[in-house]
Amino acid sequence: MFQAFLIKYGEIGIKGKNRYLFEDALIHQIRHALKEVDGQFRVTKEQGRIYVEALEEYDYEETVGALQRVFGIVGICPTVILEDEGFEKLAQDAVAYLREEYPEGNQTFKVNARRARKDYPMESMEINRELGGRILDAFPDMRVDVHNPRIMLNIEIRQKIYVYSQIIPGPGGMPVGTNGKSMLLLSGGIDSPVAGYMVAKRGVKIDAVYFHAPPYTSERAKQKVVDLARKVSRYAGPVYLYVVNFTDIQLYIYEKCPHDELTIIMRRYMMRIAERIAEKTGSLGLITGESIGQVASQTVQSLAATNEVCTMPVFRPLIAFDKEDIIRISKKIDTFETSIQPFEDCCTIFVAKHPVTKPNIKAIRRSETHLAEKIDKMVEEAIESAELLVVG
């Protein structure tokens, strides 16, 4: 029955002169999200409103689902569009609408008319009053409650008349593309896709880098990361995924450095490489899924040791999250099932049994001097040979 959705957006309404930029980005993202839904839609901006109109038969659930993944949307209002055929017809249709949507017919309600077209013969207040009366006549068990109604019947009078009463919550946040771009360090785990999702939610476009270590990690591990990037792209739009072959660097570190420092040193090189690729490709920050204390490499000392190698800001949206909270989000965004596939740990030989948990930055720097002979060239090569996959 609904031919359209009125899109409500929050924060972007307050962005002053830049407002149109945000609205345009939102429209762009909505169009992108609707591409995977069957049916033709028209997305229009009209007097501070964004409407999604279905031009043909469409799948309601699927459409709402797609819109619920568009950051910046606060609410989605399924809307009936009526031709203006006079007030009598409007009243009949409004009653029919309520009968369809609220068959119990015993709720409290309020009519909220808005007359955007000023040549409509009745004023808003008049419409509220008149329509309220008709509804009370039609539904003896309904009551008017102007302060806290169960049903807020919105009537917007424009060229056509838009009727809606439900608000389905959207994801909030800001439209992707309105806050620059950052590079996500994507592993196959639970955390990093969630971190990417969260930063994308603040309007940041996401690129990703994955460190591949054949033969210690398999093709399937890589496929899993591609699958995760695709899941993130359902929210964040197309993701440019850089796959870096990290094997040689890993082996070199393994040969030259103390084994209890392997993980930290590896991570420092991952950050360095990620930052270099980020610089080359226009990202302004890095994103990781780190959370304080989760594993040895994520103690505050370890984070400090990893952090000091880059100058770009590193966004760690999960830093103070408990694992259960992260898992909850990963289930919500449907990355959990993919993340827990067991292909990841095939490179566990590079994890010492007792890794340092409180690395001494000076010691780490000293260990890294053992790599001086070849490491710069290896890093260079790894960056040069990175494979780019466009996902989503």
Partner: protein
Amino acid sequence: MQVYLDNSATTQCFPAAAALVLKALTEDYGNPSSMHKKGVEAEGYIREAKEIIARNLKVREKELYFTSGGTESDNMAVIGCALANQRAGKHLITSSIEHPAVLNAMKHLEEEGFSVTYLPVDEAGRVRLSDLEAALREDTILVSIMHVNNEIGSVQPVGEIGALLKKQGHPVLFHVDAVQSYGKYVIHPGRLGIDLLTASGHKIHGPKGTGFLYKNERVKMRPVVFGGGQEKGLRSGTENVPGIAGLGAAVREIYRDFEARTDRMYMLKELFREEVSRIEGVALNGLPGRESAPHVISAGFSGVRSEVLLHALEERGIYVSSGSACASNHPSVSATLKGIGVKKEFLDSTIRFSLSIHTTEEEIRYTLENLRELLPMLRRFTRH
């Protein structure tokens, strides 16, 4: 160079079989149950495949049932026969190194009130006749033993088992899972005392999703799939005509030049075994020569995780499989390898190389060469 040594997992389809599949899909696509000419044409494919297989096994055509493959045939045989014969007893015997299609069917029957004896195997992966004899009971109705083990290529004494079972005072059915042996051995169920035999198409260069169950006509079996009553009601569902046609073609082809091809596989297997055992820290599983199957070589490489070696070989174009699946958090160690007493250091370091009639000496030498090169490299980086 591409060297495919994972033929126990699946094989490349014979072009002749694939061509027949295509023809049955695009030209003679009728439903064998249809009354018209198209149906009769389709039925012709099934009849021909049955003829080929019946002649090959020296059984009657009506004793063959086409299925979707080894798993379904195993399930039909084990579950179908257990249910149909439970009035005579509820005891079943199998080995501890069977394929999951048999083991999990047995587990299912245990939940349904049957009791199951799982026979151990010796260090060569063979069931001992004395163990079987001791396990047999008055109420034993079915023994299911695989012919060739998929992980180490050990060959079970199915003829002796068949003979032993026939000597019992009451009928004990004998099911043989021959998925890994059909096409590698000439098998005549009648002579070996086998009542039920499972085979799969894609292990013999036929199409995937095909297989058959041989069932001696006197054996009572209940269906596990219900429907339109095809295959005498024991396997309902429109027949997979293209698959069946391809299966028949593959059977015909795999037994062509059979002895020469088998000799060659044995020669290559021995070459591989001999050369690989010269490399330090390598332990071969199973028996040499004709005492094990011609196509399976199982070897442990100390100090290297099998999955890492597998991927390293893959980078060189060599495809093998690991002895046990790597599930990172709870490594599921192979029951077969454990069953034959493989040492702990090799459990997670075992690789299976499986040959086919297409394998060449050049491919074997290339593989050996790469192993010699990769192993020292990989062993430098081991976990502490």
